[in-house]
Structure formats: C-alpha cells, structure tokens
C-alpha cells in the first residue's frame, strides 16, 4: 500500500471495524480485479492491508473467503431490493423498482457480479447453494403478487422461481459476455415477463413502459 493516499485513507477507515469485514471487502475488490481463477491471497492482503496470518485466522481456505464475500454481495443486493419495495407504490411498480435496483447494482459492480454470480457458482457448491437461496428469496417476494391479483392465485407453484431463475440466467449470460450495458435495454422486457402472469400481457407492458409509480 506504501504511499498511496487513497489506500491509506481506506485502511484508516477500515481500522475502525472488524478485520474480517476488511478482508471480505478486500476479497471482493481483488476478485473483481483479477477474477477468481487468478486470485491469490497476496492480492487480497494488498487490498486489506493486513497480514497473511490475519487472513488465515479468518478463512481456512480461499473458498471460504469467496463465499463470505459472495454472501456480503448478495446481502447488499437484497437490501437494494428491500429499499425499492419500501417505495410508496403499487405492487407491480415495486417489482419494477426492485428489478431496476438489482440491475443497476449489477451494472455498477459488474466485475464483482461476474465473480459472484458466475465464477463462484462454478468453483464452490456452497456458493451455488447461496445463489439458489437468493433466487428462492426473490421468488418468494414476487409470489406476494398473488395476494394483490386474485387471478394469479391459481398460478402453478413453480411460476415465480422459474421466472426469477430465468431472468437471473439471462443476466448471467450478459455478465459472462461482459456486455452489461445491454441489460439496461432489457429491463423493460424483464418487467413485462415478470408481471405478465399477474397483470396479463398488456397490463404488464403498460407498467413496464410507464414512467410513473402508479397505473
């Protein structure tokens, strides 16, 4: 870290917290920079400004560090979704806001998103399980729409998990190809697909294309 003022500031800021938190944050930065396949403990240590002993005291393996960093990443995404859902709007517009929040976060941190959504899932069963748990949580949230739209009550049980898993897969494909900007143009279509089972195609299209938070 030497004489880099920004790095010194980061370290000074981090010094107030838990070393494990610094390491998790450093892991995410280093993984986004190098990719998980080429990531070495030294890369993480350089970002964290801590010793190898500190790393080993917190993580038995690189995979443990990866899973901890992925968990922090998914927690932040979940907070973005929760914040979007708190907006004073009708259910369908909350779905649209939540999707927008997730896509914005993924685009903004596309390097990390690529590591945690694609690389991590490939190399760690634990990471894959966490990703599936996140998809289940998002599907449960979408399922709340059944309470708002009576005709959706009889939808097949697997509807929401299929939709959420499908959108996530398409997003992952774009992250893999590093064409994240294309996700912005797909947002309207994703909203339409997620809402169609509840509102019908034209209703979903109206919400997806509308600028307001109410129909």
């Amino acid at each position: 870290m030497g004489g880099d003022p920004q790095r010194r500031a980061e370290v000074s800021q981090e010094a107030a917290g838990d070393p494990r938190d610094w390491l998790v944050a450093a892991f995410a930065k280093a993984a986004a920079e190098h990719g998980y396949a080429k990531l070495e403990v030294d890369h993480v240590l350089r970002h964290a400004g801590v010793s190898r002993a500190a790393f080993e005291a917190n993580f038995a393996t690189m995979e443990h560090g990866l899973v901890a960093a992925q968990e922090a990443f998914l927690d932040r995404l979940w907070l973005d979704v929760a914040a979007a859902c708190e907006e004073p709007a009708e259910w369908a517009f909350k779905v649209r806001a939540a999707l927008h929040a997730v896509l914005s976060s993924l685009i903004e941190a596309s390097g990390q998103a690529r590591v945690f959504a694609i690389e991590a899932v490939g190399v760690s069963l634990a990471a894959a399980e966490r990703q599936f748990t996140m998809l289940d949580r998002l599907a449960d949230l979408l399922r709340s729409g059944r309470g708002h739209h009576p005709l959706a009550v009889s939808l097949p049980e697997a509807t929401e998990r299929t939709l959420v898993g499908g959108v996530a897969s398409v997003v992952s494909g774009h992250l893999l190809r590093e064409d994240v900007e294309a996700l912005r143009s797909l947002e309207v279509e994703f909203v339409e697909l997620l809402l169609s089972p509840y509102l019908g195609e034209q209703g979903a299209r109206r919400v997806a294309a509308s600028r307001s938070r109410t129909p």
Binding site: L151, A158, T159, L193, G200, E201
Partner: protein, 218 residues
C-alpha cells in the same frame, strides 16, 4: 436412458480413431461421475477405456477438453430425446408436455451424470458455461416453435422462451445440486403448466384459470 459407457466393453483390441475417442469419452463420464471431476485424471480415464495414456493425449489436450466432449454428447442426447418426443402434428400443449417429460425422464435416469455436467463442469470456467448457454439455446429454439401454433404466443416478448427455459433448467439444477433428483417427476407437472402459461394468456389479462391449459395436458 443415457448409457454413457455401456456400448463399449473393455478389451485391448485396436480401434479406429473415432471409436477410441468415444471410448475415452465414455470412460471419462464413468470415472468422473464416480469420483468427481476434481479427483479424475487422464491416466484413470485412459485405464478405464483400456487404452494407453498416449492415446488420450492424441485426442485431448487436457482433461477439460475431454469433459467438454462428454458435455456435448450428453446435451446432444438430451436434446435428441426432447426432439424425438415431440410429435410435430400434435397440439402444441401435447408437444410441450412430451418434451418436458422426455427431458426430465432423461435427467432423472442419468442423474449422477447430469449432476456432473450441471454442477461440476462449470468449475472449468467459461468454456463450460458457453456450452451450457448453447445447449439452453437449442431447447429455447424448440419452445419458440410454439409462436407459430398459438395466437396468444405470437406477440410474446422476444426473451420469453429464453427466460422460461433457463428458469426451468435452474430448477432442475437446484434439485440436482441438492441431490433431490427423486423430486424431478413432481416438477414435471409444474413445469408443463409454467411453460404453457404464455399460451393460455389473453392479450387483456387473464380471463380465467391461468394454469388451465397446462393442467389439461399434464
């Protein structure tokens, strides 16, 4: 059933290059399914195939290339099963039902092999993930045939089939990851209903039970 290694027995006769390659792919699938990809090496694969290690090296640069060859063959079989099950003259819901039944039946019967490709293969990185995307695209193309069979589906958003198929695959992979392949038959009825939803939707919202078309054929 996906009889990955059954067509070729052991033995030490001489084989044509194509047959050697097939034997190596069979052997790889068997060994990696039993031991896991991380615990499989070219020597074990060659030994299982009854061929010298040099023969392995003449066909594959490394083990990951052999994995990709096995991966391609598995998905060729899977897509072939789906295509064979779909009677193009039958009503669209019947075709979807048959295709999903064939796909899930194939995966359930070859669950250990399917798990290898769905869960372990991605460890080699982008090449396996690109193969996965290409395989899903082939199934998406089959589902897209429904646009010509249903007025309701003609105006669906372009990504509809990709999202539905990838979502269905995600559910199957989750079941394989959790080693809950016994639940796959229960998933069949659900997926038939979900994948047929776009064909039961009216343009001004649902006028009735949205899962009706799927349940009628499921």
């Amino acid at each position: 059933m996906y009889a990955a290694w059954s067509p070729h027995g052991g033995g030490s006769g001489e084989f044509a290059a194509g047959e050697e390659r097939e034997r190596l792919v069979d052997a790889f699938t068997k060994v990696a399914t039993e031991r896991g990809y991380a615990h499989t090496g070219p020597d074990e694969v060659a030994a299982e195939a009854g061929l010298p290690r040099a023969t392995f090296d003449s066909h594959f640069h490394d083990l990951s290339q052999c994995l990709l060859a096995a991966y391609d063959r598995f998905f060729d079989c899977l897509v072939g099963e789906i295509e064979d099950s779909m009677d193009l003259g039958a009503p669209w819901p019947e075709q979807v039902r048959a295709g999903i039944g064939a796909a899930l039946g194939f995966v359930a019967e070859s669950a250990a092999v399917a798990r290898l490709f769905a869960v372990e293969a991605p460890t080699i990185g982008a090449p396996a993930i690109n193969r996965y995307i290409a395989a899903v695209e082939r199934i998406v193309a089959l589902l897209r045939l429904g646009r010509g069979r249903s007025a309701a589906a003609a105006a669906l958003p372009p990504l509809s089939e990709a999202v539905m198929v990838a979502g269905a695959v995600s559910l199957v992979v989750a079941a394989l990851l959790a080693e809950e392949q016994a639940n796959l038959p229960q998933l069949e009825g659900q997926l038939i209903e979900v994948l047929l939803l776009p064909y039961s939707a009216g343009t001004e919202g649902r006028q009735g039970d949205p899962g009706q078309v799927g349940r009628e054929v499921g």
